[in-house]
């Protein structure tokens, strides 16, 4: 009897066991790397990702531990508070930058709509905090708000710069 031994290697392998302390060691190495960008919002988003993963894992492997969901709610609430603070700060800087009332009004409306959506998802979240899609929905919503505020400010800045250059060239 013959076999094609290539087929043998298509199956999953047993994994080797990592040496102890490999993780701490890697973290050390990682920290020594030159790090160009590590602003605070990303740390927060990473925290969110952590929570999403935690929720994901608990959904996948731990469906019995439904009683232990309250820490997740608390974590989400903490992240939410930080996001809302950021959004507020961006909003204020946007109002200061924008000289166009119509534009401000348009964005106020947009944000209000997103906030309404958020309230709805929030209710879903409180009913079933283990649903990963809901958690992602919450975070996407907050990220979207923050991003549109950042984008419009960037846009205004570019416009202002172009105007200035234009005026100078005249």
């Amino acid at each position: 009897m013959k076999q094609d031994i290539r087929d043998l290697f298509k199956q999953e392998d047993d994994l080797e066991v990592l040496p102890e302390n490999h993780r701490a060691e890697f973290l050390e190495k990682l920290k020594k790397q030159p790090n160009e960008e590590s602003s605070i919002p990303w740390v927060k988003i990473a925290a969110v990702v952590l929570i999403v993963l935690t929720v994901g894992v608990s959904v996948l492997y731990n469906t019995t531990e439904v009683e232990e969901v309250s820490p997740i709610i608390a974590q989400i609430e903490a992240v939410e508070a930080e996001y809302l603070e950021d959004i507020k700060a961006e909003w204020e800087s946007f109002i200061a930058l924008a000289e166009d009332d119509v534009l401000v009004e348009r964005f106020r409306k947009k944000l209000d709509e997103l906030d309404l959506d958020y309230q709805e998802i929030s209710i879903q979240f409180k009913n079933g905090p283990n649903n990963i899609m809901v958690v992602e929905g919450l975070i996407d919503n907050l990220q979207t708000r923050l991003q549109i505020l950042k984008d419009i400010q960037e846009h205004i800045k570019i416009l202002n710069q172009n105007n200035e250059n234009h005026e100078k060239s005249i």
Binding site: I5, P19, E25, L27, N35, W42, A46, G56
Partner: protein, 182 residues
């Protein structure tokens, strides 16, 4: 879960350490297993694996989602291992490409009593240069195009290494099998 991985990678692109550690935790064991196939000591394998991760994070902008992240990472880790081996003056190019007889490249049928572990053990006894190509082809599942990219050798050379490696493997396993039989 795929969406989360995409997010994690986006965060890694921003140089976020928490996300990088998440990615590390997810793939470290599999990548260590890969590295152990090429480097003899656990210590070296671990170092190459970690170095591979650092390189991956530094070059993460070059990552194309057409590959899975794991596959991309695996190539980097393998390259890291090969760099290690090259330090020990392992050269792939000094092989006469011409073969005396044409063999069927696609025939990998061996006696079905031979186990995977026996094959792995036998691979260790193949001449170093052929061994790497056999591992890349048989264990990792790369094709000759990919192997030629990884080792920076012509496809023809890769074929030759594999053919010779396979011959040695057949010989090694035949002896073993016969010894067990008689």
């Amino acid at each position: 879960m795929h969406k989360i991985e995409t997010k994690l990678i986006e965060l890694c692109k921003k140089g976020n350490q928490v996300a990088q550690m998440q990615v590390y935790d997810k793939y470290a064991r599999a990548m260590f297993t890969v590295a152990c196939r090429y480097l003899n000591s656990e210590e070296n394998a671990k170092d190459a694996m970690q170095e591979g991760f650092l390189k991956a994070f530094t070059n993460i902008d070059k990552y194309q989602p057409e590959f899975t992240f794991g596959a991309w990472l695996k190539r980097i880790v393998i390259n890291q291992c090969l760099d290690e081996l090259k330090k020990k003056h392992l050269v792939f190019n000094d092989i006469e490409v011409s073969e005396l007889k044409i063999l069927n490249d696609d025939d990998w049928s061996f006696d079905s009593k031979i186990t995977k572990q026996e094959i792995l053990n036998a691979i260790d006894y193949i001449t170093e240069k052929h061994k790497i190509v056999v591992k890349l082809y048989l264990i990792e599942g790369f094709d000759h195009q990919e192997i030629s990219e990884i080792l920076e050798i012509p496809v023809k050379t890769s074929r030759t290494h594999l053919r010779r490696g396979k011959l040695q493997l057949q010989k090694l396993l035949k002896t073993k099998y016969n010894e067990a039989r008689y």
